[in-house]
């Protein structure tokens, strides 16, 4: 019997929760990007007609506006100089003013100064605590917590991970990163939760916050660094705050999503029992959103970790700094030795948060059925006991005289890795029979794809590109999407970085194309065989969590300096998300449909082409969107290996303290990200 849920007419409910993209989570961690349920409305002829009208009218307006502009400012390709605002003067002066007044102006003394102070004090407190606990204490505590949350396997993984950090000779940097992370993640969770609370409870706050959070979500990490350096100077406070700003949006989004998505029936039941607003929030809405909240914390940890590495460029110290230093001496082995602890931290933190998430909602096993040891460790006294055991371990470590990791217990990793890399670059660079060396590939990729694309984009009249953006926006969404796209592109022109942005755009497009071709191919394979997927999973995890800095150098060694290695690094980074989303999308195709098509005698390729791919369309679209956003992030970092364009400008801004160049490039990246994200947005807003 079908049950009708409410009898109110449609359209009278408040807009449903979870509209739009549920999860363009930054794929900083394993198991992050899960497919959103992007609804795809069936296209009826009438709807198609209406859609065409919705397409033509704004398009007409755009044409009507742009043609006169195009006539007034002819010029072949480039953006007209008359429509450009030169910001270098004011920005340069602002930068100088800040540096000159940082130690005297009340804004800095009474506001930023306190923030900075609080960060330093808290990071220091955590760091001193971690050092005091020593390796024995930290490892014991981590293992016990993991054991309480998940079980013996995770506990062993945890312990092994920390021991590995020690064995690699990275104990102190690991603790520094951990301290920085702890403070940054705690702050971003609090900040994100507060923002999420506002957006989840007040529709008005949601309307204001949603576009801001959406935008922050797609910004490359690099774009956040310069404004922080500007205010706080190089050092831990700037790094922590950049991490907070970067990691808070996912938390805020997921909190809002959880709060909005609270089961309406439960909320109504609470209201019908006469609960006050506060009671409804505390006893129903928040507990109902616990899963999402925890997922948000997990996301904050993952994004925070990836940012903590990138923030080494502005003096975050810790593991990221070791990677960065190793990069300077072209020492892939050393970079890897510092990169592995990052991957391990990511995996351990992710799995632990995941386990905590799975515990929620699961029925607690009655105490009498539990293992004796577990029974001892449950409840609040279990918590106390955990703490005491960790303290005991710490004290034992101290007594044994090795509170820091003993210097002799390290395993040299750098040498074998470096010789492997040397072999690889030595043998693959050129002269490989038949397929040619990697250098040849890079040359061809640059000459046949990147160059034509770049010259094409740069030669195209600017108003044509604006019209193109408008058309793409309308195809992907509504007139609002189109307006955002056009304004973003227009802003790029107005900032005076038209050419550089198109250069970056050409790299993004080329790398996205490669990513999608490879990603879809791998995903189709992985979706067919569970074994292939199992084998693939750890590889994808590592690709996603390994700091990009680690593989930038081997990539240069293989592809030479230029745009090709930047694109290659971007492909490596974006591939996991694409593979994952696509595989999941293909697997989630309704089995009933697949079965019925099989019964009609369809071949495998027919099944794939006619059923699985069309039905997985929302997932494929999401994969495209993710690929674009992720590739952009790395293409920017590619400025470090000769990618040039906007990435180089940002690096230059950071390196020279040149705000004008850096901030303008940062703003252009923001606009580019906005443009690319909006025109590939899979979920249509209605």
């Amino acid at each position: 019997m079908t049950a009708t849920r409410t009898h109110t007419p449609p359209g009278t409910r408040p807009a449903g929760p979870a509209r739009g993209r549920q999860s363009v989570d930054r794929p900083a961690g394993p198991r992050t990007a899960h497919t959103a349920a992007a609804q795809d409305r069936p296209r009826r002829p009438l709807a198609a007609l209406a859609a065409r009208r919705a397409f033509l009218v704004p398009m007409g307006v755009a044409v009507a506006l742009l043609i006169p502009l195009a006539v007034v400012f002819p010029g072949a390709g480039s953006w007209p100089a008359a429509l450009t605002a030169d910001l270098s003067g004011p920005l340069g002066r602002a930068g100088d003013w800040i540096i000159d007044h940082r130690d005297s102006h009340p804004l800095f003394l009474y506001f930023f100064g306190h923030i900075s102070n609080a960060v330093v004090v808290s990071v220091r407190a955590v760091y001193v605590l971690l050092l005091a606990a020593g390796w024995t204490g930290v490892t014991a505590l981590a293992a016990l917590v993991a054991w309480r949350l998940a079980g013996i396997r995770l506990a062993l993984t945890c312990a092994a991970a920390f021991v590995a950090c020690g064995l690699l000779g990275m104990w102190v940097p690991t603790m520094q990163t951990l301290a920085l992370m702890a403070v940054a993640v705690a702050a971003s969770v609090v900040l994100g939760a507060l923002l999420g609370l506002a957006a989840g409870l007040s529709p008005r706050a949601d309307r204001v916050l949603r576009p801001v959070l959406d935008t922050m979500q797609i910004l490359p990490a690099f774009a956040y660094l310069l404004p922080m350096v500007l205010v706080f100077g190089i050092g831990v406070p700037a790094a922590v705050l950049a991490t907070v700003v970067y990691a808070a949006p996912p938390m805020a989004r997921l909190t809002a999503l959880g709060l909005r998505g609270a089961d309406a029936g439960v909320m109504e039941a609470a209201a019908s029992l006469g609960a006050t607003g506060r009671q409804r929030l505390l006893t129903a809405r928040l507990p109902l959103a616990r899963r999402q909240l925890l997922l948000g914390v997990n996301q904050a940890i993952m994004t925070g970790l990836s940012m903590a590495v990138i923030a080494s460029v502005i003096g975050a110290g810790g593991l990221g700094d070791r990677v960065y230093q190793a990069l300077a001496s072209v020492d892939v082995g050393a970079a890897l030795a510092a990169g592995i602890p990052i991957v391990l931290l990511a995996v351990v933190l992710d799995r632990t948060a995941d386990a905590a998430g799975r515990r929620i909602g699961a029925t607690p096993v009655p105490a009498r059925e539990q293992h004796l040891l577990r029974r001892v460790f449950c409840g609040w006294y279990g918590r106390l006991l955990t703490f005491l055991v960790a303290v005991a371990a710490a004290v034992a470590g101290r007594v044994a005289g090795s509170s820091l990791w003993p210097g002799s217990w390290t395993v040299p990793l750098a040498d074998p890795v470096n010789s492997a890399v040397a072999w690889m670059t030595g043998h693959l660079y050129s002269g490989v029979p038949v397929v040619g060396g990697t250098a040849d590939w890079a040359a061809r990729f640059t000459g046949w794809i990147l160059d034509p694309l770049r010259s094409g984009l740069q030669a195209a009249p600017w108003w044509l590109l604006l019209l193109l953006a408008c058309a793409l926006g309308l195809l992907a969404g509504t007139w609002r999407t189109a307006l955002t796209a056009v304004l973003a592109l227009g802003a790029i022109g107005a900032l005076g970085v038209w050419e550089a942005s198109l250069d970056t755009l050409s790299q993004v497009l080329a790398a996205v194309a490669v990513t999608l071709v490879l990603g879809f191919a791998i995903a189709v394979g992985a979706a067919r065989s569970a074994r292939a997927e199992r084998l693939l999973r750890p590889v994808l995890d590592v690709c996603q969590t390994l700091p990009q800095f680690v593989y930038l150098i081997p990539v240069v060694a293989l592809f030479g300096v230029g745009r090709a290695p930047a694109a290659a690094a971007a492909v490596v980074y974006a591939l996991p998300a694409v593979v994952r989303i696509t595989t999941q999308g293909l697997r989630e195709v309704d089995p009933a449909v697949v079965e019925s098509v099989r019964s009609l005698g369809a071949s495998r390729s027919q099944l794939l082409r006619q059923v699985q791919l069309p039905l997985a369309r929302p997932a494929l679209l999401l994969a495209v969107n993710q690929a674009v956003v992720l590739v952009l992030a790395v293409v920017i970092i590619g400025g470090l290996v000769g990618g040039g364009a906007l990435g180089y400008d940002v690096v230059l801004g950071l390196a020279q303290g040149d705000l004008a160049t850096g901030l303008v490039a940062g703003a252009a990246i923001v606009c580019l990200g906005l443009l690319l994200d909006r025109v590939t947005q899979p979920a249509k807003e209605d």
Partner: protein, 358 residues
């Protein structure tokens, strides 16, 4: 079931109640306007952009009765029941509980109403998934600020009452639908409310479980005599439980009456169509089927109470082989014979007074 004494003040008095969804200002203009009375729902929506879910509804709920509101989906019945405790704010009209104006209540008094006087049971249960059965049942008391020990004692009592003993520490996710709805019922009962509001409580359940739950409600009503407002789209359920039934269509009440009135004399074609498949002999009583006693008939034959259903009368008539008397407090109201009873079964117009003798 209990008979009610109309003299007592009604629990709920609803008069000219409207609920119009849509832009606030436009919605406020709809009640009483010519549009509202003349137009169909679609036309109204096109004209004003508003949807009238409840239109000019008037009824009383008497103390101790089971008042059923029934209608198909979209008829406005769920909106109506939510208006009673202002979970949905009515647009116009008046509404009082025990003579107290509900629409004039401030937030505090309204909460008190929801906490102590009217509790609701929902179609999809609305249980908190992260709490145990016991804590779910105690939730209403927790909101009222009852101490932990007290509320758990009371909740344990109610868990036993709805037959869920031994499942106190389970989570709702581990229960069957029927068990979950028992939790919902216990939660509503925990506050010992004056009125229980049921919003299609059993339509998400399997037929067998539904039957069982209906019996449970009937039992509760029988034991405690609590006033109930019951929303359903299932006619059989309405007829089984209701003392009186309000049948809704497009936001209006098209007929309000006892089950027998609804089935026996439908107000219009819509209602007639609705009740066509009802086994009339199980709902209608001998009052409908009887005719005035002919000479001598008032003394002979088996005696039946006026509330006897036709199906029972058929048995009596078949056994005795002749007409049966309808006797109320020793007075003979009339007789039923096989022709009259057959006419009811066949759905022919009622025959009282026709005096046909076969």
């Amino acid at each position: 079931m209990n008979t009610t004494t109309p003299a007592e003040a009604p629990v709920f008095a609803v008069d000219g109640l409207w609920k119009v969804f849509g832009p606030e200002k436009a919605a406020a203009r709809v009640p009483g306007s010519a549009d509202a009375t003349g137009l169909s729902a679609t036309e109204l929506r096109e004209r004003t952009g508003c949807t009238a879910a409840v239109r000019d509804v008037t009824f009383d709920v008497r103390k101790g009765e089971v008042f059923v509101v029934m209608g198909l989906s979209g008829s406005g019945k769920s909106t109506l029941v939510r208006c009673l405790t202002r979970l949905i704010e009515p647009t116009a009209g008046s509404l009082s509980i025990d003579g107290e104006d509900v629409l004039a209540m401030d937030a505090g008094r309204l909460r008190a109403l929801r906490r102590h006087r009217a509790a609701m049971v929902f179609q999809h249960f609305g249980l908190l998934p992260h709490r145990t059965v016991l804590d779910n049942v105690a939730y209403g008391l927790e909101i009222q600020g009852v101490g932990r020990g007290d509320r758990r004692d009371r909740a344990a009592e109610l868990v036993a009452k709805v037959g869920l003993e031994g499942l106190e520490e389970r989570r709702p996710g581990q229960l069957s639908g029927g068990q979950q709805q028992r939790v919902g019922l216990a939660r509503a009962l925990a506050a010992d409310p004056e009125v229980l509001l049921f919003d299609e409580p059993f339509s998400a359940l399997d037929p067998l479980i539904r039957r069982e739950m209906q019996e449970e409600v009937a039992r509760l009503h029988h034991e405690e005599g609590r006033t109930m407002v019951f929303i359903t789209h299932d006619l059989a359920e309405a007829l089984r439980l209701g003392d009186r039934i309000a049948l809704m269509r497009d936001g209006r009440i098209v007929q309000l009456g006892t089950p027998e009135e609804i089935v026996g004399s439908p107000a219009d074609d819509y209602v007639r169509d609705f009740v066509r498949d009802v086994p009339r002999e199980q709902v209608l009583t001998v009052r409908t089927a009887m005719r005035p006693a002919a000479a001598g008939e008032a003394e002979r034959g088996p005696a039946l109470a006026p509330a006897t259903t036709v199906v029972e009368a058929i048995e009596a008539v078949a056994r005795s082989g002749g007409p049966a008397r309808v006797v109320d407090h020793g007075r003979c109201l009339g007789v039923v014979d096989d022709a009259g009873l057959l006419a009811v079964v066949a759905g022919l117009p009622a025959t009282p007074g026709r005096g046909v003798a076969a």
